[in-house]
Amino acid sequence: MTGPAMEIRFTSDPDNLAPVRACVERFAAEAGFDEERRGLIALAVDEAIANSIRHGYHGREDGPITLRLGMLPAGGVRIDLEDEGEQVDPSDIKPRDLSEVRPGGLGVHIIKTTFARCAWRRRESCGMAVTLELELPKPAIAAALARPPRSDARPDTRPNAEP
């Protein structure tokens, strides 16, 4: 049982953000995160995608973006985001000083606050990649493991199944 896993490919059109984050939020729910945590995960992934759109593609709406959602073996999520946009030095991707009140500059702070680990890197060919990971809190792991197995219990819907 490896649990849910998926890859979503879409373009840097901001209209794609809402369906993608609905998927991320529900994926985090399947992974066992509580409502507050899964809201933060969806928000942080939204911020990472918005950064690809704004800084990687400079607002161009047809740039390819790939998002991969997977489970950590010990419980939790691993999320990989890749674009083919402009490359920057990963050490330049950092939160700003929040004591200064001005528009913008909050995305990386939100990403770092939400995920236990986040790492940006230049991709080999072109574009940037970021990997985000968050473990389940301990009690949630126990609950996820307590789920009964699915085998032998599927509803029998063969045409001639006896009732």
Binding site: M1, T2, G3, P4, A29, E30, A31, G32, M71, G75, A143, A144, L145, A146, R147, P148, R150, D152, A153, R154, P155, D156, T157, P163
Partner: protein, 113 residues
Amino acid sequence: MSTSLEFSREERLPAVVLRPQGEIDLARSPELRLRLRQEVDAKPKRLIIDLIGVGYMDSSGVATLVEALTRARAAGCKLVLAGLQPKVKSIFSISRLDTVFTITGSVDDALTA
């Protein structure tokens, strides 16, 4: 690794009220099936399935309920569905099963339906 369907259960003798909580799709209907078999096998006079906590159901969930209905009838148990949300109600009407099942608004109505 994934969230399971949760059940709460209440005895309002001679009826039993079972309240699943979650979305019932191909991933979750096996849990519902197991639980309904247990409940029907205990042969209560009346089994009320309160769906107030079920925001989504696909045809695998409906198939599970049809199977439970058939088993309940054979066991002399009256099966009643209550508390269907609009989305869940619509899959019963699309499937033309809204007249096959006894469906009530509230659990109280289901006690006497």
